[in-house]
Symmetry: C2
């Protein structure tokens, strides 16, 4: 049997898994990221976690491992295996691919983490078998990955799929990237929380504001919960949020018409609560007529959770 | 030698060409579209133009023709060879592929015309040899085509690449498609003419307004000419236009990172007059750092003009 190692680098933890040909995880390990430490120290921990994951995979020996895939946030050069820069981790020119390859004696493939997660969902999750699929993760930011015929679309310079930094509201809300009006500034959990806080300030006696006070915090879940409890202010926030989300997804569908778009991340956990009104709104936003039997992009929820990035990184190494 | 027929269906005329393997046109013919006539009458004229084009190609006999490619505006089903609907031509469910195939005894490939034009520019024009390229035509609308490794990206349902209907200004100018704030509503020649007319009304004594009165008309060329003559009102229109255009192109680059974006259509004829400030603005709009030697999408002008659609349709038939 052939196995692949998947490494998913997160802000807090690095997850490592041994993945079989079908995209199943057969052994796992993890370690803290500790991104502020010297690169060689981080690397040493990753290598240790790789060995731990192999030990945890019963019936798998080191000789069964064919390659290693690494998913990293930030701008990566997949050809060279270098994390060019990542503002959150403070990394710059981290040649993680060549360094790991040398240490392990295995080929190492580096991908952007969102792209890797998209591949994971296509190989083994919500978009399994789709000829083309896009994964949109609605978390702190908006991550996106686009997979065509089982391969991650990385563009000319392996920097593609920053669809979160697609302007949908010219001159609108400032985005962390320096542009204004990015999809991410509206459709991320952060965007939804900002809209929620603004609504709470404008309507301090609303059910929304009350719920937030009771819970002592505002999360992406708050407006959905308050809307479900019947608060019209919260419902307006949800509607507004879904309007922006549908706008960006409508852009992607008009432009690329993937077979599937899978929604993940914190907000994606709303599942059908989000997807039912979202599908209706997206249909209004997409070009063309609705005809009997017309092939339409399917909007679904991601199913692999954090495992998508790990499985996808491993599967990227398989190619 | 193998040759291919390219058919480019326009609002007024249908152009037909015999194209060699290298994408060179070796014989041409055309006929009026007359789209309001019955489909079988239109078809008859196209078939006649095909025979005329073959006759016009010296040294080419009918037996040298391997396949036919047709580029049509509107929504097309490439698999079935059917123009699903086209509002401008008033066509609906025109099975042009099977009908032409039967009449000519040759395989026929149907593509959206903007997609075909993109392929033409990649095979034989401005994006020759690019691993991935996007062609954006700035005319009455904004056409777009995306070519990956020599193949047109048509998406799951062959309706992809309507990037003109990507919202860049949420709730903004109404678009012909029913959405508001589409890229097309700002970056098309129509969008520029609208901005120009608004500026003329607000500044009736401007050089821009004077030029338009003298010429008796407003075209996409008017604001560029008035700006070049030193009128600040016209310069502001040009700057505003380039801002919107750069916004949409920045979205496409952040998302897809094609090797080349070729700009065509009426406004594309401005060439470097448009591209020099546009490149500067796009650089501000794109994600990431500018680093020495970093691979960047090249912004160039289309070089094939109307021949792009014809050559591209023929080359689509080659595959």
């Amino acid at each position: 049997m052939s196995y692949y190692i998947g490494v998913d680098i997160g802000g807090t933890n690095i997850k490592v898994g041994v993945v079989d040909e079908a995209g199943r995880i057969v052994g796992e390990a993890d370690c803290p990221t500790g991104a502020d430490r010297p690169q060689e120290v981080v690397l040493k921990d990753i290598l240790k976690a790789v060995e731990d994951a192999i030990s945890a995979a019963s019936g798998v020996s080191r000789a069964d491992i064919r390659a290693v895939g690494v998913g990293s946030p930030g701008a990566v050069d997949s050809e060279a295996g270098v994390v060019l820069y990542n503002y959150n981790l403070g990394w710059r020119d981290f040649a993680i691919g060549p360094l790991m390859s040398k240490a392990l004696g295995l080929p190492v493939r580096l991908e952007n983490d969102a792209n890797a997660a998209a591949l994971g969902e296509v190989v083994a999750g919500s978009a399994r078998g789709a000829s083309s699929a896009m994964v949109i993760t609605l978390g702190t930011g908006v991550g996106s990955g686009f997979v065509i015929d089982g391969a991650i679309w990385t563009g000319y310079n392996s920097a593609a799929c920053e669809f979160g930094h697609m302007v949908i509201a010219y001159g609108g809300r400032p985005c962390t990237c320096g542009r204004r009006g990015c999809f991410e500034a509206y459709a991320s959990a952060t965007g939804l929380i900002n809209m929620t806080k603004e609504a709470m300030e404008a309507h301090p006696n609303s059910g929304l504001a009350e719920l937030a006070r009771r819970e002592g915090t505002v999360s992406g879940h708050t407006p959905f919960a308050a809307a479900d409890a019947g608060d019209p202010v919260a419902q307006r926030v949800v509607d507004e949020y879904i309007g922006y989300l549908a706008c960006g997804l409508g852009n992607l569908i008009n432009g690329l018409q993937p077979e599937v778009i899978s929604i993940g991340g914190g907000i994606g956990k709303q599942g059908e609560r989000l997807l039912v009104p979202l599908r209706r709104k997206v249909e209004e936003e997409t070009f063309g007529e609705r005809r009997e039997g017309e092939k339409m992009t399917r909007l679904v929820s991601c199913t692999l959770g954090y495992k998508a990035g790990l499985i996808g990184a491993a599967m990227a190494a398989r190619r």
